[in-house]
């Protein structure tokens, strides 16, 4: 076992891990941050997405020891300081961008990365960026709409 130190959503934390421990396991089982979901555990669905040093990463496909010393942000760190929903979260609610909600944490983390890289994406760019995020309920249309709305664009004609 080895000790790792990470900054998680702005706070210092440490955990005891094995070589094979995944970042997703530390987040969920070690730190009880269960907003990061394990959908497929085979690197395909994107429900486990987090930001590591500001970069989008699949926490189920990264060893915890690789995150030693890193800044990690999860869905629990995406609300505003006063506890109200962040802009992207609010847009998902406003535009009904979720049904069961299982994929939503990963969608929010991906959308946040996208809008940081590309503040006014086209609908095609949003769809392309979500290649690694699976949603089995919504058919994606309202997710696309929510992300475009969060970028400040008119979405009356988006995702028709």
């Amino acid at each position: 076992m080895a000790q790792i130190s990470i900054t998680i959503n702005g706070k210092s934390a440490s955990a005891e891990v094995e070589g094979r421990t995944l970042l997703s396991e530390v987040l969920r089982d070690g730190l009880r941050l269960t907003g990061t979901h394990i959908g497929c555990d085979t690197s395909q669905c994107g429900a486990c997405l987090v930001h590591v040093n500001g970069q989008l990463a699949k926490s189920c496909t990264m060893l915890a020891l690789e995150a030693d010393g890193a800044e990690v942000r999860t869905i629990e760190g995406m609300a505003n300081d006063d506890g109200s929903l962040g802009d992207i979260q609010q847009a998902f609610q406003d535009h009904h961008g979720l049904q069961c909600g299982f994929c939503t944490p990963g969608m929010i983390m991906a959308a946040t990365s996208l809008l940081r890289e590309n503040p006014k994406p086209t609908e095609a760019e949003v769809r392309a960026y979500l290649e690694g995020n699976m949603c089995r309920c919504t058919g994606y249309h309202n997710i696309i709409k929510a992300i475009m709305a969060a970028s400040g664009q008119d979405v009356t004609l988006a995702a028709h």
Partner: protein
Amino acid sequence: MYAFDFERPSTIADAAKALAQDDAQALGGGQTLIPTLKQRLAMPTVLVSLSSIPEMRGICRSDANALCIGGATPHAVVARDGGAFPALADLAGHIGDPAVRTRGTVGGSLANNDPAACYPAAALATGATIITNTRQIAADDFFDGMFGTALEEGEIITEVQFPIPQAASYQKFNQPASRFALTGVMVCRYASGVRVGVTGASEDGVFRWAEAEAALSNSFAASALDGLTLDAEGMLGDIHGAPQYRAHLVTVMAKRAVEEAAT
């Protein structure tokens, strides 16, 4: 996953030392290796991470007009900073999905030599040089069948040098479930001639298409490929595409690449 020890050296020398241990395995970005470990298809005693070695990260342009990419440089960095070779930056920017691109590395992709990976096609189409901790290997001598390479046990890809072409394009037919290329073709035009690298098609892994290279060196136009066909014998076949389909796709993607490169 089976249990293993984990080391995260900060120099190439220390990584080479760690990889000299019995059953040691190098870890690049882990986007293929970690799923492989989860399925218990590999059982290393010690995993040696190459992610914290500064001398293996970054991009520069050499005096010989090659784009030099550190072996542990993630795809997203090549996509963002590889503007001196736009077709290669575009290739890197379409590997897998965004989260794969922040972790997956050029060295990892080449060392794994997946038969449908994108980077091997670029290495062959550019005549890249693969630099390891012990030697330099020409791309033409590097790939050795599906998942096979010239790398020795414990040898580390520290850098890859891609000669920058006059014109180039990589076109892949997406396999949307795996996000690998169903078939992908890279065409690069140099003063010395045209090179064509093909991935996702052959049972032997990535290859150069010599007939297309000759035709395109003679006339760099999609029509130069009219009538050229590849034998379906030896092509990959699965539920996504029969060998005949893939053989046909190679010509289609090569033509698209020439058209894109010529604009």
